[in-house]
Symmetry: C2
Subunit: 336 residues, 2 copies
DNA sequence: TTGTACGCGTTATCAA
DNA sequence: TTGATAACGCGTACAA
């Protein structure tokens, strides 16, 4: 099909290029009758503005980039899904990159994004001065997920600390004293929040947070398996384990199975996010839940607001609550 | 930062615009010394070509669109993940859309993609003349997932039929005769393949595929729950259930739980894809597995080949095998 | 209110 | 081999 341009529309409606453009963009006022004529031409010819030409002119691309650590992690996929719903409603396309938290790939992505998008949503939350600088240099709106915003930007955050507190409260109420925590590296906010909340919550219950019962290394399932195995083979193993991250629960379950430990009889377990495995596994797992769909929506909405704003907007942070969904994976500690 | 254009490079190197462009694009031959000078200027100024201008000129965007039914379905997310790895290696960005198999959204997406991308990967596999037409009209390379290609295009397919055959063979070998199948609507190839393979496989074992034991409605987990509940409340319920789709297994498990049926004692179950729930649930579930990562890679590679091809390429289809991973969710049928 | 003309940054064509 | 120049399609400043 020979592409139809605004020129064709103008010719067909027998008006100038400029007038046709004005009608197409609803800018300035145009004589009602002429407007009718142009609109008819647009429809007849099936005119659609050339996005690249428009972007070149305006500097806007109507595209958003979403940098996600790993799209196969269900809550993150949920984030992408709802963000995309919101964005497409406003005619924005969504560019997705899985970075695997790899610095080089993140930097390459940011570089390529610069020209392609009007704004960015970032989920990789490790602190890294170089990446922070790259993001700051971008000079475009950024929404941070689970990370303090850099520069004049927004953030959507999960109250991971509250989640851990809820979990510790619950376990303590069941009588647990040796509680273990497995989470990601402390260089990222989610793990950091969990670690410090863990410590405070334990103390509040008059318990000593034993350093040997805490592992903060990786959100990866295999790493969690090894961490859990290590904890469970301690001379004095924990009686309860909290998963500080989505993929940690599978690792803990594998470790428990491999040692023939029964949950919750031998070990109480709290998952870091809800999932099919958590709700339908045996036992059904008590989990720390957050509404990732709502977070994705909020991130997209904040970004669009900021992109469309005439006046500068002060940095905003929205903290989303966690909820402890109590199921059957926790019981009283086994008598020593 | 004041954008640096090729004009600036030309001025700095004291050459014409054209020459600078030639060096930047490595097109035509350029005097070695001049080339040196221009390259130096490019580096000094930190020149990066403007993608929009380049796209406007060339008609290429170095972007691929990936239309996925639901990004939160793990195997599909895996597809996106590996496809993106391959694409980004070649400098391509990836536009992702979750369509929810909604016709309107798919059509809108295709329309918006037309201008934004050089090629498309499509996973929604329902037959729909209007969408097929839209895809054909697109006049750009398309790779179809789990669907016969339309026009001069490629497809990556899962051997769903083989998977069902493997499942039926296995269940028959355990002595099952009343085997049920729950899968999606037959308007999509994956379900269609499963249904016909099911019928053939059953007959091959001298069994009658009872229509009342087959449900082909939706891949959705809630729908699967209702379908499974219906089957299990039949006067003569099935002794084994095959999940023909990723999200069907959770539905079946819920239905079994709600009726206090024990797997595999009261009911044998085979999952439609591997997952945390399948491998770590109780019992561990026998599943039909496929390598979705490999499929995503293949799809991306075929698309890039076709985009870069000078000569027309004949339509290709790659069929990926399934493997029955035997675990503990199947046993002999309960004596009637 | 309308039209003319320019520039956004590239790449490609055509002479020199 | 190099350089001037014309598009690509659009939006808008400026003039009418």
């Amino acid at each position: 099909m020979g592409t139809v341009t605004i020129k064709d529309v103008a010719r067909r409606a027998d008006v100038s290029l400029a007038t046709a453009s004005r009608v197409a963009n609803n800018t300035r006022s145009v004589d009602p009758e002429i407007r009718k004529r142009v609109e008819a031409a647009i429809i007849e010819l099936g005119y659609a503005p050339n996005l690249m030409a428009r972007s070149l002119r305006s500097g806007r691309t109507r595209t958003i980039a979403f940098e996600v650590r790993d799209i196969t992690v269900a809550p993150l996929a949920g984030l992408v899904r709802t963000a995309q719903e919101v964005l497409s409603r406003d005619g924005y396309a969504l560019l997705v990159t899985t970075s695997d938290a790899d610095r080089e790939r993140e930097l390459a992505f940011l570089k390529s994004a610069l020209q392609r998008v009007d704004g960015i949503i970032v989920t990789t939350s490790a602190d890294d001065p170089e990446i922070e600088k790259a993001l700051a240099d971008l000079d475009m709106p950024v929404v941070y997920f689970d990370r303090r915003p850099v520069g004049n930007n927004d953030a959507v955050l999960v109250a991971h600390g509250d989640g851990i507190r809820q979990a510790v409260d619950y376990l303590a109420s069941l009588g647990h004293e040796r509680i273990g925590l497995i989470t990601g590296a402390a260089s990222a906010r989610p793990a950091r929040e969990r670690l410090s909340a863990f410590e405070v919550a334990m103390r509040d219950h008059g318990l000593r947070p034993e350093p040997e019962l805490v592992r903060a290394r990786s959100f990866d399932s295999d790493a969690a398996f090894m961490d859990a195995s290590g904890l469970l083979s301690l001379p004095k193993p924990p009686t309860a384990l909290i998963a500080g991250g989505t993929s940690v629960l599978p690792g803990i379950i594998r470790a428990a199975h491999s040692r023939n430990l029964s949950i919750p009889r031998d070990l109480s377990v709290i998952g870091g996010a809800d999932s099919d495995l958590a709700s339908l596994g045996t036992p059904a797992f008590t989990v720390i839940r957050a509404d990732y769909g709502a977070i994705g929506r909020a991130a997209a909405e904040m970004l669009l607001e900021r992109i469309g704003a005439k006046e500068p907007i002060a940095p905003r942070e929205i903290v989303f609550p966690t909820e402890l969904v109590i199921r059957e994976s926790c019981g009283a500690p086994r008598s020593p």
